[in-house]
Symmetry: C2
Subunit: 342 residues, 2 copies
DNA sequence: CTGAAAGCGCTTACAG
DNA sequence: CTGAAAGCGCTTACAG
């Protein structure tokens, strides 16, 4: 037996009163008598009433839904950020619609469009590796839909942003290798476009420079998909060249793990002959032997901060209309964790 | 300058026609002239029109949103399932709202309620470890909202289900240890309630029985949160007892990894003195040394299957009203991957 | 304290 | 071929 979901009308009919009264009673308006409220609440419970949020959303012009666009879900960093987003959103009565770009710009565009017509209250995004132009986000600005970018942000787009200081973190990582005695330091870097892979490269370059080590372009490898396999293959290539590195700064832990496995396959001793440092502090960094020195970044807090900023902006706009917002960029701290690989 | 989002009315006004005509033109109704259609489509584009899905949903009684309730996002198995769900949902024009129970029944109840009043078209769920009664799902049945359960399912609740054969997989795992010569096999099992941890225990028990090995209750440890640390601690306890196991069947890879680390901390050789097998085939199983023998389960396919069944049911009900549905339980195959730990 | 009415943005049966 | 009207389920300013 299928029932239709109870509406205000059903309750009003049952009680011989009107929709208006029922609606007000349920929302505890002061101008409704206690008896009426009691009766309405009782009947609502009995009839399993739950407000139709679509109707509420339509009426109020608010959906309490936030859209998230990230490259991947099966990913140590992003799943942790997502966790931070979801938990804090739920606490404040917002729900999350999640979409994944798989680092493809076209997908990202589609999702922006979709979330736009789903009338989400705001959007959190980490750009696809492939994305260069962020024109497809302009429509959100035009219609005053708040956006927060994290991790892979745009430098030109005006909005709230959360990330870490990739350059100084990469500097720290490279400097660590230098302090440990490395002279020939390779960098397996991220793809061309994302600002954070550029910043990490800059940190690497800058640390070499400050320590009077010439940058050898043959020692910089550029990943496409940033997979363990790429880390493995690039490391083999580096270690089979005439000019072997004695240190590798890997742009992520996955790359670092691939590097360790490649070195081991050639019988090269870590950290004696080769030192390796990763980035992210994911679980594999602790579990691999030798364990991987890495840069810890506050994943959960990045998600938490992003959702907080977004909800603040949403509620600020609700209160003051489209008053001008001062956008901020919040930079969270990282630290180096030394393990066996250096 | 904030704009209000364009509505049908805006377009009609601009064109000096009516909402009806604009709506029909955009949906390519046959009874609208070509010229009108052309003009409407052009104007819609110019004005950045996107239909308000809330209104469409309200009118049509459909939201094209599917709710997902899972214990965790930061979790190898669940993030992979989620990936399978999201990708296949997007292809069919559905979006996912994701909520996490953190294995707490109360949270799960709250989410069911929330998703119900969000009027999602259907729900996919893997039960919280804590959940015994599934009464809180009854409301979905009452109102004909399709549900698919996966992994941690209920045996009493009538709905479509997707999982693996946990019992026979566990049997396979235990039998593998026996074939490798283990005589004293411990099992670090999952929590009390979830059917799949019970089934895995049953598989273990049954394999021992078939091989004339008496089950020693002291060799069965029960996890609460199924964390690496629990695996570590229980393994220390087992290995420090008078009656040491020579094999451990761990209910997940995380437990298996903890077991390996605990054994190593005591200087016990794997696999010579102790053999360990996990369950899931997550990345850590490949990366730890010795690498972990495990049961591979098709994570992505579980998600894919769940969302397919759900969408099928949604569309079936749309077409035929609440005709009776034949619920199915789809069992996906697992296989054993032998690595260094056995 | 209660209720009639307008309206959020759409869809669609019906009339012309 | 075009359009007026009802209605999806709510909220809320207004009248009584």
């Amino acid at each position: 037996m299928s029932k239709n979901r109870t509406t205000l009308k059903d309750i009003a009919l049952e009680l011989g009163t009107t929709i208006t009264t029922v609606s007000k009673a349920l929302k505890n308006y002061p101008d409704i008598s206690k008896e009426t409220k009691k009766a309405v609440i009782k009947m609502a419970k009995k009839m399993n009433y739950e407000p139709d949020m679509r109707a509420v959303a339509l009426k109020k012009g608010k959906s309490n839904i936030i859209g998230v666009i990230i490259p991947e879900v099966v990913h140590f960093f992003f799943s942790n950020v997502l966790e931070g987003i979801i938990k804090n959103a739920e606490e404040k009565g917002y729900k999350i619609i999640i979409t994944t770009s798989h680092n493809i710009s076209k997908q990202e565009k589609k999702h922006v469009r979709f979330l736009f017509n789903k009338k989400v209250d705001g959007i959190i995004v980490s750009l696809a590796n492939e994305t260069k132009s962020v024109k497809h986000f302009d429509i959100l600005k035009e219609y005053d839909i708040p956006i927060v970018m994290f991790d892979k942000v745009s430098d030109t787009f005006q909005c709230n942003k959360v990330n870490i200081d990739d350059k100084s973190s990469a500097y720290k990582a490279t400097e660590h290798l230098i302090k440990k005695g490395c002279k020939k330091i390779a960098h397996i870097r991220g793809p061309k476009h994302p600002l954070n892979s550029i910043a990490r490269f800059e940190g690497y370059r800058s640390a070499l420079e400050d320590n009077d080590i010439a940058l050898n372009p043959n020692m910089v490898m550029e990943c496409k998909d940033v997979t363990l396999k790429e880390g493995y293959d690039f490391t083999l290539e580096l270690l089979n060249s005439d000019d072997k590195p004695d240190g590798i700064f890997a742009v992520t832990d996955q790359i670092g793990v691939g590097a360790i496995q490649a070195a081991q396959s050639l019988g090269i001793k870590i950290p004696e002959e080769l030192k390796i440092i990763g980035f992210s502090d994911s679980q594999v960094a602790q579990i691999i032997r030798p364990s991987l020195t890495t840069i810890h970044q506050p994943n959960y807090e990045i998600g938490e901060t992003a959702i907080r900023m977004l909800i603040e902006e949403i509620e600020l706009r609700e209160a003051h209309g489209d008053s001008d917002i001062d956008f901020r960029q919040i930079i969270l701290d990282t630290y180096l964790i030394e393990r066996e690989s250096t």
